[in-house]
């Protein structure tokens, strides 16, 4: 491969474009190296990078995230219910295209199976009510951790720092693995309280998204299958492994979350002690 002389090839106009992708974490390795070489030599582009980074922080912190009005939500829920309860005569048009031949439950299943097939194991279970309550707590805790400026008690990307930190505070040793190479860098750990007990929260990052992985002693005796659900727009996965119940929650897409679950369930690679 014929390398460009580092830093020589890029002009400022191209650098301006690439700085955006670079700050968004969308630039590939060779592009990043090329840009970094240019930035090292060009104070103007460096200043521009700082301005853009600052703008990014302002936008992410300051842009309004509009929430759907309650009456719109209610209206839509009613409409989708009504269509279902109308007789065939009134809904000929809707029925022709809206209703599947097979139950939609099977459709939903195919969606989940598609997610997990990539992880090597295929699972789908319906959730009992009690688990819904725990799921709601998990989601609430996730949201709280993002809002209250109390995401982590121990900030470290080093699994050998985070894991012993839990050992000293909880009577359990959750799986803590740095998955930076796989695209899920470890952010840190936190103590939390779910389902009436203190739990470990391990925080991973995926791009701009944060993922909370909660762990506490399992009430099930066997390794449990992976279960997926969605609560208030958040994706959740729960599974049991090594006497512990795990819950992963995030706004990342289901595929990424399943990938993280699979990596954690696979366990830590052998590490020198």
């Amino acid at each position: 491969m014929a390398d460009n002389p580092v830093g020589a090839a890029m002009d400022c106009k191209r650098a301006q474009l690439l700085i955006n992708a670079y700050l968004d974490g969308e630039l590939d390795l060779s592009g990043s190296l090329e840009l970094e070489a240019h930035l090292a030599e060009c104070p103007n582009c460096r200043a521009q990078q700082e301005e853009l980074a600052r703008l990014g922080r302002r936008l992410r912190g300051g842009l309004e995230n509009h929430v759907a009005p309650e009456d719109l939500r209610t209206r839509l829920e009613q409409m989708t219910t009504q269509v279902r309860h109308l007789g065939p005569a009134q809904t000929t048009r809707a029925r022709a295209s809206a209703w599947p031949r097979r139950p939609l439950l099977a459709l939903a299943a195919s969606v989940l199976i598609a997610i997990f097939a990539s992880g090597g194991t295929t699972y789908l279970l319906m959730q009992p009510a009690s688990q819904d309550a725990v799921a709601a707590e998990v989601v609430a805790s996730h949201i709280r951790s993002l809002m209250a400026d109390h995401l982590v008690d121990v900030v470290s990307s080093d699994q050998h720092t985070v894991k012993p930190w839990f050992d000293g505070r909880l009577d359990l040793a959750p799986a803590v693995i740095d998955l930076k190479a796989e695209g899920f860098p470890l952010v840190g750990g936190r103590l939390d309280y779910i389902d009436g007990q203190p739990v470990a929260a391990i925080i991973y990052q995926r791009g701009k998204h944060l993922i909370n992985v909660f762990a506490w002693p399992s009430t099930e005796t066997k390794e449990g299958p992976v279960r997926a659900l969605t609560v208030r727009g958040y994706n959740l996965l729960t599974w049991s492994s090594g006497d512990l119940t795990y819950w992963a929650v995030s706004d990342v897409n289901g595929k990424d979350l399943a990938a993280l679950q699979h990596l954690i369930a696979q366990g830590a690679p052998p590490t020198p002690e």
Binding site: Q16, D24, R57, L63, V67, L72, R75, V83, A98, W99
Partner: protein, 189 residues
Amino acid sequence: VGAQADFTAVVMPHLDEAYNLARWLTGNAADAEDVVQESLMKAFKHFAGFRGPEARAWLLTIVRRAAFTWLSANRPRQLVLTDDEAGIEAQNRATIVTLHPKAAETPESLLAEKQDSAILNAAVEALPAPFREMVVLREIHGLSYKEIAAIAEIPIGTVMSRLARARALLLARLGASPFGRSGGLANGR
């Protein structure tokens, strides 16, 4: 167990995101509600044909299309992209002056922060729609270039260049950040 129950479980969790996108693209609550309602009905109707694992992206694509249809009927000028950024810039500068919020009796730093947020939101609102949607999908919805490309139905390279241009416009409009440096608004000027 039925279509409605599954639609509620698979699609409805993304209602807030659908509304946010529609709200930013239409620029007002009433039309955003119309766009979302129309989109959700369409989604409901075609739910049977939905196979993809990403209900979120699927719904946002429908909403985005509906919002752009609304824009072309009601705000066609917002869809126009000229190559003359200075022109867009000049046109926008005229409106931003009037967008500063009224001074209220708050501590100076709080006021400055509020103003910063109001100015920021107004600046994004004033972007032409094809730029605005990039900023919203990226900075509020946190989507990747690939996801944005799929939703906006444009190539990834176009996502990158539009985002870069949108941000350059915002920087030109907003000037230096009041909080990013020592000093700033709170210290007076």
